[in-house]
Amino acid sequence: MGWIVGPFKRLEDYREEVWHCIRCNWCKIGFGWNVKSQKYHWNCPSFTKYRYDAYSAQGRMHIALALIEGMMDWKDSEKLLEIIYACDTCGACAINCMRIMENNPVEVIEALRARAVELGIGPMPAHKRFGENVKKTHNVYGEPHTDRMKWIPEDAKPSAKADTALFLGCTPAYRKTDIARATARVLKASGIEYMILPDEWCCGSPLIRTGQLDLAKELVKHNVEVIKSLGIKRLIFNCAGCYRCFSIDYPKLGGDLDVELMHIVELVADLYEKGKIKFKEVPPEVVTYHDPCHMGRYLGVYDPPRTILNAIKGIKLIEMERNKDQAWCCGAGGGVRAAFPDLSLWTAKQRVNEAIDTGATTLVSSCPFCASNLEWAIKDMGVNMKFQDITQIIEKIILRS
């Protein structure tokens, strides 16, 4: 997997990294070669909105330095908790920082959060509810666990047992069931025999991102046991957050799985490239694609969704200025949507505006959490823009070769 794998480090373990930050400021703006306009040159939602350096990766690194060295105490600042939690952990700072200084500020921010939780200061009240809900119902929304599979469509029922499993995630199961159904139909139409975990729990991502590692470990342990006991060989995701969590975070929390992990777009693109599926033509439509941070910037899945969209006759894909590793976050991640709805909505609106500026009428993505936030922004703005998860496009046009 790469360097990022290894146990979660404690805050003090980042001493060298935090001293290493010399405010080069690439954590605040897009990587120079990729910037195409002033309007869309920012990369950090938090800094762009609040403008104090403390709300940038650089500021958070320097605050971490002061805490690590004991120059500052957690109780010295009224704003500290807000500063470390008003961040989507989208990684836009990290990808630039790695390229320039080989630092990953998001790891430091998450270590700050974990320490805040250890000290009983964090997380934010909204994040505590994640934990409480997960304990009771195994999902962050507090919905009945028995309803987790309620969405399954009659026309695309999973098998009782298969080598391939669809890991659903809380948001598709309870909030974006249309995406869950579309995913099931795409799998069915692709001829993939798949199952759904009979006792799937939250992947743990919302807890990990907000510093609640102990609770997350329980979820990881449970899911890993279930997957191993079923002898599953391949896990498919339609949630970018779950996919990243399994790929990067599970090994850090002892959740080693000898299982192939892939997002539904990777599977579909692969089948298409191998000639196993094809797509029906659609009426002319201009679309633009939003790279979910978890899947794009974190895992490097940039090409498969583009392969699919470019393969569909009738669809014209126009890129937003900030794309792939430089994509602007939807604003939903890192616990921001729950704890800082203003920042979250503002961030999503920025993205919708960027999509509108391409001339596209449909904004496509491949993450149910991005879907929720971008749809919220579109509705709030009252603009002529449609959001579609990529599976919702595919489900209508996929054909087996």
């Binding site: 703006i29 002033q38 104090y52 403390a54 120059m71």
Partner: protein
């Protein structure tokens, strides 16, 4: 039981001051929160701030941070500071020497002043607010077939408004001569709160039509240039634009990295391979040694070809590497030869211009013993330096990327083009012998070939030698100070001006009265006129009578003692204070 580390507290300002500031900008844009001010204590090239951080100096923490959105708000903040006699400092990204010295300081962060105010295509100029960076200037100008001619050191860090008050090095100094020759006008809030328009802005209403730096205003801009934020806050700056023929957008890189797979992708060289913009071509060449390299560079520069001409293979190898391991490997394997340079040739008028200039280049190389790198000769080197295909235009990766271990001080010896490059190498070699390297592999490289910027068609070569201390290592930081003292004293002894970066800063300026001579006293006079209360960047760049007495005579700090030691060792004249201890007697007594 280990002792609990000492917490560092910041001094707060009286409530009425905070309220007055809040009335100007709104309560949300003033913060005295401990965590918020902590983010404003370490600055990019500021050895002092890192040393003081280690010693837990509380004065490193500003009392509060204020974020104005307009010239008028900046003015009002400055007037409040004057009314209550509170030191203040303004900054953008905090590139150079921004840390406060007095415990009670108002920090004016210009982060909300980020608008491009005007792009005048006909007169080829752009007027911007201070927080507009080079990246966005270039992006917007390119769409109009223009650019500003180059980007400051690390285009995210350097912004024209702040760079004008400190320095200005571009990869394209050969033709465009850096920022200092490319500013047409500025709007400045003086330390006393008056607003002054300078350059083309001098006559109200002409700001939009900034056609020349010569007229119509009095040439006051020189007082702000290199003033290190001591004589005013630039709230608007108009810069020249030049023709750009490379297209509206820069070419796409071949790939993009990801966080989880970064090192694998770096190993596969998946990213950082951008092609050059159309009608711009980089020609790389090598020479057998530094002497022939410099001779060749000067001939190329003076021939009139190219828009950018720079040299030093080592630095390119480091900056173009995707990881520090790759950089290290390149150096160890000597992948990029030490005496390598490049010239950027632009087909500004037509494609044939490139052909013609290429012919001239080849002839000069033949005459001076240089050799062009090509697909046949050292193609692996050409591949290794591909980031430079765009780097000359936007300056994305230079500087900090060098070795990922930061570079702290740069010593530049302008003038006497040929000998300054040779001398810089030799002086650095001497420093390595006397003090030792601050980085095992990279520091000694300057002793082979420093980084050479060819400026103004060869009138000048700016020579840069960098140090790479680990910032969390106090001993390495002290060693850096030592070598800095050695370099500075040696350059003064050799009658070089020394680094542009240190000259206006204290305690350098008053430790070396040879500069000017007595430039520190001239600045002190300026300060009395511009900033009679001595509030702006107090004690950072200019010392008052009292501050001099304390810093140089009565209670000299570590830096002053280091400089004095090296003055003595190297036999520079011994400094003798005036009877009132507010200055040095000059000329100083010759050393025995």
């Amino acid at each position: 039981m280990s002792e609990k580390p000492k917490r560092v507290e910041h001094q707060k300002l009286p409530r009425e001051v905070i309220r007055a500031l809040q009335d100007v900008v709104g309560p949300e844009w003033v913060s005295e929160d401990r965590a918020v001010v902590e983010a404003y204590t370490l600055f990019t090239i500021d050895l002092g701030s890192f040393l003081r951080k280690h010693t837990r100096d509380p004065s490193l923490l500003p009392s509060c941070v204020v974020l104005p959105s307009s010239t008028e708000e900046v003015q009002a903040i400055v007037k409040i500071a004057n009314r209550y006699n509170i030191p203040f400092a303004a900054f953008n990204n905090g590139q150079v020497m921004n840390s406060p010295v007095y415990s009670k300081t108002i920090f004016i962060h210009l982060a909300r002043m980020d608008k491009i105010l005007d792009i005048d295509e006909e007169n080829m100029s752009m007027t911007i607010q201070p927080f507009v960076d080079y990246v966005t200037i270039q992006a917007e100008a390119r769409k109009r077939g223009l650019w500003n001619g180059g980007s400051g050191w690390h285009s995210a860090t350097a912004k024209p408004a702040s760079q004008f008050t400190s320095a200005g090095l571009w990869q394209t100094d050969l033709k465009y001569q850096g920022l200092s020759r490319n500013v047409l006008g500025i709007k400045v809030v003086l330390p006393t709160g008056e607003i002054v328009n300078m350059g083309s802005h001098a006559v109200v209403g002409t700001g939009k039509y900034s056609f020349t730096e010569r007229f119509p205003g009095p040439k006051l801009m020189g007082l702000i240039k290199n003033s290190f934020g001591t004589r005013g806050i630039i709230t608007e700056i108009t810069i020249k634009l030049h023709p750009w023929v490379g297209g509206a957008f820069l070419p796409e890189d071949t790939g993009r990295p990801s966080i989880a797979h970064y090192y694998e992708e770096a190993k596969q060289q998946k990213f950082d391979n951008p092609p050059p913009p159309k009608r711009y071509k980089l020609y790389w060449f090598e020479y057998p040694n530094l002497e022939t390299l410099v001779e060749g560079l000067l001939k190329i520069a003076r021939s009139g070809i190219g828009i950018g001409l720079n040299a030093s293979g080592f630095y390119f190898a480091m900056m173009c590497a995707r990881t520090s391991m790759e950089a290290r490997k390149r150096i160890e394997q000597q992948l990029v030869p030490p005496y390598v340079g490049y010239v950027v040739i632009a087909g500004i008028s037509c494609e044939d211009q490139i052909k013609y200039e290429e012919k001239v280049l080849k002839q000069i190389l033949e005459e001076t013993g240089g050799r062009l790198l090509s697909e046949e000769y050292k193609p692996d080197v050409l591949k290794a330096v591909t980031p430079w295909n765009l780097e000359f235009a936007v300056n994305t990766v230079t500087g900090m990327r060098t070795v990922r271990d930061w570079y702290l001080t740069t010593s530049i010896t302008p003038y006497a083009p040929f000998y300054s490059a040779i001398d810089a190498r030799d002086v650095w070699a001497e420093a390595m012998k006397k003090i030792g390297p601050t980085h095992d592999l990279f520091s000694p490289l300057g002793a082979i070939c420093p980084y050479l910027y060819i400026v103004d068609r060869g009138h000048q070569i700016e020579t840069e030698i960098d140090q790479f201390p680990k910032r969390n290592d106090f001993k390495q930081l002290l060693a850096t100070l030592e070598s800095f003292g050695f370099l500075k004293s040696t350059f003064i002894k050799k009658l070089y001006y020394g680094s542009w970066m240190e000259v206006p800063g204290e305690p350098f300026a008053s430790s070396y009265p040879e500069t000017g001579p007595n430039m520190y006293l001239i600045w002190r006079k300026y300060r009395k006129v511009f900033d009679p209360k001595g509030l702006m960047m107090a004690r950072r760049a200019i010392l008052s009578d009292e501050e001099f007495k304390k810093a140089q005579i009565e209670k000299p700090g570590g830096a002053v003692r280091t400089f004095r030691k090296w003055r003595e060792i190297l036999g520079l004249p011994k400094l003798k204070p005036t009877p009132d201890k507010t200055a040095w007697e000059y000329p100083a007594e010759p050393s025995e």
